[in-house]
């Protein structure tokens, strides 16, 4: 039971923390973000395992984490509101070449991020070539070019 409780607590704590940290936190992983992720993983591991390094404990932790994830995905499929709460919603950050500056500021994105996404996905050169730029739930920026 201890393994199940620990895994459940850590899962929902991490879900909450990453949800609160915003979409863009680990969207573009810089070397420092990568190190931060490693530190979080290491700290989480200690909290998960405690002093029990048995194989059984590891199996139970993995099964519990996977089961919560499957359960949550099934619930999100059934209740779209839960999906909104846990994953957030996509956000239009640019329309017809005009950026929504207030949204960009809140989402901690600048125009250069949109330009970079436009260059990488469609080879576009300027913002006015973009019909829509959308900040996706995953934290990535998708670009729909003007025809």
């Amino acid at each position: 039971m201890d393994a199940v409780l620990r895994a459940t607590a850590i899962y929902f704590f991490l879900l909450l923390i990453f949800r609160l940290s915003g979409k863009r936190t680990f969207a573009d992983v810089t070397p420092f973000d990568f190190v931060l992720l490693l530190i979080i993983a290491e700290t989480t591991q200690q909290g998960l395992l405690g002093e029990d390094f048995s194989v059984t404990n590891s199996f139970l932790l993995i099964i519990t984490l996977i089961c919560i994830d499957i359960g949550l995905s099934l619930l999100k499929n059934r209740y779209p509101r839960l999906d909104k709460i846990s994953e957030g919603v996509p956000l239009v950050i640019l329309e017809e070449g005009k950026p929504h500056h207030d949204r960009l500021k809140k989402a901690r994105i600048d125009e250069d991020d949109i330009r970079a996404a436009a260059r990488e996905s469609h080879g576009l050169e300027r913002l006015d070539q973009i019909k829509y730029a959308i900040l996706e739930k995953s934290g990535g920026i998708s670009i729909i070019p003007k025809k």
Partner: protein
């Protein structure tokens, strides 16, 4: 209804295989859920609702022993001896030496006054006649463990424990 594959799409998909896989996936989810329920009940050691078993150590039942039915390799498990009567105490506890050889003793609370080996048993004597004694152990071998445990002048009790890897 079979899907008409676009001729331009070079894709080696197999819907019947996918359906079989979905069935297996869902079956495995049920198995995983059952494992979690088992873990909550204490079937895999650690902690659990039905993990600990109580065994009376005296004919009157005024002293009992609590031990986990399941443990995990090199993780903590405890044997607790408790005087439940109004005026009885615990002075000596005999535990089969063979059983303790498969365990690492982290501590005994309170500390025993002396330990003697006799006929394959280790006899722990306690000063001050405590009402509760705890052996905090770590299993250092996996599999089934049986032990004979008794208080002085009382009938021995047999315990069975399974230690998971």
């Amino acid at each position: 209804m079979p899907r008409e594959k676009a001729k331009t799409l070079e894709l080696e998909d197999d819907l019947s295989y996918e359906r079989r896989q979905w069935r297996i996936e869902r079956f495995s989810w049920v198995i995983m859920l059952m494992i979690i329920i088992g873990a909550v009940c204490g079937l895999f050691g650690g902690a659990g609702l039905f993990l600990y078993n109580k065994a009376p150590l005296t004919t009157t039942g005024d002293t009992e022993m609590e031990y986990p039915r399941f443990g995990r390799f090199m993780s903590a498990l405890s044997l607790t001896f408790r005087a439940t009567g109004t005026d009885n105490t615990i002075s000596t506890i005999s535990i089969e030496e063979h059983y303790l050889n498969t365990m690492q003793i982290d501590n005994i609370t309170p500390s025993p006054e002396k330990v003697e080996a006799q006929n394959g048993m280790l006899i722990y004597s306690f000063h001050g006649s405590p009402r509760q004694v705890s052996f905090n152990l770590k299993a250092n071998s996996i599999g089934m463990h049986d032990a004979t445990i008794s208080l002085t002048g009382q009938e021995a009790v047999q315990i069975h424990q399974f230690i998971y890897p």
